[in-house]
Subunit: 454 residues, 2 copies
């Protein structure tokens, strides 16, 4: 078989036959469908593969096969993946036996092989797919960061010579890297496993070991890409921790000051709870918008108490506004249309709140002046969102997240109004943040104007 | 010499030695610097080459050499082109003699050869540059649209065999295509011209004719790309007409209804006048904005007469708002920062005008309601500009210029306000177009939401 590019290799074989006995206390039922922040380990594996360009899967079933099959069939339908199944009747012998069950289906194809209970970053799959094995060879993704391993004792280790695996096993004394459990294989793998089986060894590692003896196992270095073998409750907690971490990591790129220091920590806490429910990100978006509208209603009523309630609700809506994206990331269900709705509704909420705060003040203070101020402030908020979009379209690069940008963001605007409401002066806060926004706008416009002078 | 790609061939030789005697009545002085809608023929030629990727020029001088040199030196400095010069002492013999003056400078390079008085679309240069001549060969851009020629009698014609020029001349009886006067040459051209010179023939066509006899002149079909030999007053008028046409051709892609049927015809008329002055597009942008602000001032004053003046000024500003881009195109001086300023100031003018019309009405009709209506209308205008930018960034394609989009544009908005002012009811017009805008917004938001469902 000649070298194949990733384009021609869109099949992933997922081993989902094992019992996962050590996870039983945590997940109760079957391991592939063990929920992790609202999504099963199995669905996370398919999603990560899909992000690396793989859309065709063969799931090898064993323990509680029908239950697992139904779970993946539903995922395939919902996400538009092609999912096939093979039952490994002798899966209890070892995971090598499970791999063999895939042999007929795979035929001559190059295939990605991964474990249903490994949480793996898409980048790891991508790196591996860029290094297809030669005929008669298999490629194993290895991690050379020995100090970064989660559970060294339980990790399968490899020793390497000239980029090829020399020995493989959990108990190697001298070893160079960890076996991530992700392979890119020619059908040579099946021959290795059959050889081991003839000696009554039924682990995948045993088959790989046979091939390694012939120098037929190439190591692909994927150090730096996160992966985790989720095979006990401790690892499950680690997986949860890393998912939460990934939500915080969004920081700094698009977040404003208040997002980073106040809203994000709270919204992440809420999101990890919401992810376990059936509530969708779009529902959160709409809920956040409705809360902002209710807040506007309180502001419009005028007076300290109503303003206070309005301020608190508005700040709550702002926190919740971060949850839609976070839940979408946790449940791998982000959509462009969800982000579209979120962004647009934020603008309407800006308009409604400016209008309401001005109304609440103007009723007690007749005359045109409050309205002129309120309208300029509200216009400034909308322009603030507009200019950076226009900048990106005009100059082909996003407007940097500089101080001007961070100070003009929705999160700070809302927080100032919240503080104003606490102080009993939401309209003064509106004028203040409105004036500040127009100043920031002037700076951003100037920056665009100067940009092409150089 | 091996084939060369356009990347390696960034030199254009521009023949600017001739007298252009037939243009004298129109341009008075020298032909290359004859102004055409605010830009000399020579500068237009350099700009068209630059758009095709050529940034290095050799200008062959003859008639009024010092004057022409100074003109192109200034262009080179201003536009950042590298411009060199050679004087053809014997240019009076014919344009073949002018070409020979470039021989030493060109050396072994592949070069584009074009006439300073030909107005040529960049696409023609691009097509030619994609077909580099082989060693010993030259390529001639030919136009097979015999019926589309401007002045058939004066056109140099070619007859073709197997894609090669067989004969060339103004008086060919049987001919297949027109010689556009644009070549992509190896130094073989100089040999052909020298051969002709030995027979006391000094035209460029004579040299080309020599090469054609050896099958060394390949024809590159550029039919469909506009070109024009501007060598008499009639052709100069035709060139002006085609420039004006190109302004109208922008139609339909981004223009709204009022732009197409009212503003554009007027603004093109104004732009052709403005292009002949020293007024820059950015100055026009600012002037248009200031006129809109003055209009807002009149609206704020309230009353029929002031509103009428405001409406007329606002509509005038809207017409003038089209001139900045048109003058920029006519004078080849468009800039991203100019477009940036233009777009942003339009939004500020939207805000100022909504505010002013509401103010003018609210002074005579106290209470919060007019302000609520005015603020919602003004917010709608800003959102209308915002959503289509957001759409493009979110979905990676521009929002189509559908009915929703055309009805929400600045031009229609202003025109409705203008009509309202004529009818003595600018505030009613503001509420009407504001409400319409919010309806259109709902449609656009829905379109974005549905987009990713398919």
């Amino acid at each position: 078989m000649a070298d194949k590019t990733p384009k021609q290799c869109p099949l992933a074989v997922i081993l989902a036959a094992g019992e996962g006995s050590r996870l039983k206390p945590a997940c109760g039922g079957s391991k592939p469908i063990a929920p992790l922040m609202g999504l099963s380990l199995g669905e996370r594996t398919l999603c990560a593969c899909a992000k690396a360009g793989v859309r065709r899967f063969l799931i090898v079933l064993g323990h509680r096969g029908e239950e697992v099959r139904a779970h993946f069939e539903e995922i395939g339908l919902r996400r538009g993946f092609k999912v096939d199944f093979k039952v490994a009747d002798d899966w209890t012998l070892g995971n090598g036996a499970s791999v063999l069950a895939a042999a007929d289906f795979v035929g001559d194809e190059l295939f990605l092989l991964t474990m249903v209970d490994h949480m793996v970053e898409p980048g790891l799959y991508r790196k591996l797919l860029q290094e297809p094995p030669r005929s008669g060879e298999i490629c194993l993704a290895v991690d050379r960061n020995r100090n970064g391993l989660f559970d060294v004792e339980d990790t399968t280790k490899v020793s390497l010579i000239n980029g090829h695996v020399q020995a493989i096993g959990k108990d190697l004394k001298a070893w160079d890297a960890a076996d991530t459990g992700v392979f890119l294989c020619t059908p040579a793998l099946f021959k290795g496993i059959e050889k081991a089986r003839a000696r009554d060894r039924h682990g995948l590692s045993d088959g790989v070991s046979e091939l390694a003896g012939n120098g037929a196992v190439r190591a692909v270095d994927v150090t730096g890409e996160a992966w985790l073998d989720v095979d006990d409750p401790k690892a499950l907690r680690e997986a949860e921790r890393s998912l939460i971490d990934s939500l915080h990591r969004g920081k700094g790129k698009e977040d404003g000051y208040i997002s980073i220091w106040l809203n994000r920590p709270i919204s992440v806490w809420i999101s990890t709870r919401l992810a376990r429910t059936r509530i969708t990100p779009d529902q959160i978006t709409v809920a956040s918008f409705l809360i902002a509208l209710v807040a506007a209603g309180f502001f419009a009523a005028g007076g300290f108490a109503a303003g206070l309630v309005g301020g608190i609700l508005l700040q709550a809506a702002s926190v919740l506004d971060g949850c839609d994206g976070e839940v979408a990331r946790l449940k791998e269900c982000g959509s462009e249309r969800g982000a579209w709705l979120d962004t647009i509704l934020d603008r309407y909420s800006d308009l409604a709140v400016s209008l309401a705060i001005t109304y609440g003040y103007a009723v007690a203070h007749p005359g045109a002046l409050p309205w002129v101020g309120g309208m300029l402030a509200g216009g400034g908020f909308l322009l603030a969102s507009y200019v950076t979009k226009e900048y990106q379209l005009r100059f082909g690069v996003p407007y940097p997240n500089d101080t001007l940008n961070r100070l003009k963001r929705h999160d700070l605007r809302v927080f100032i109004l919240f503080l104003g409401a606490l102080a009993g002066a939401p309209f003064a806060a509106l004028l203040f943040i409105g004036a500040l926004t127009h100043l920031l706008l002037a700076g951003i416009i100037l920056k665009g104007w100067r940009r092409t002078l150089t």
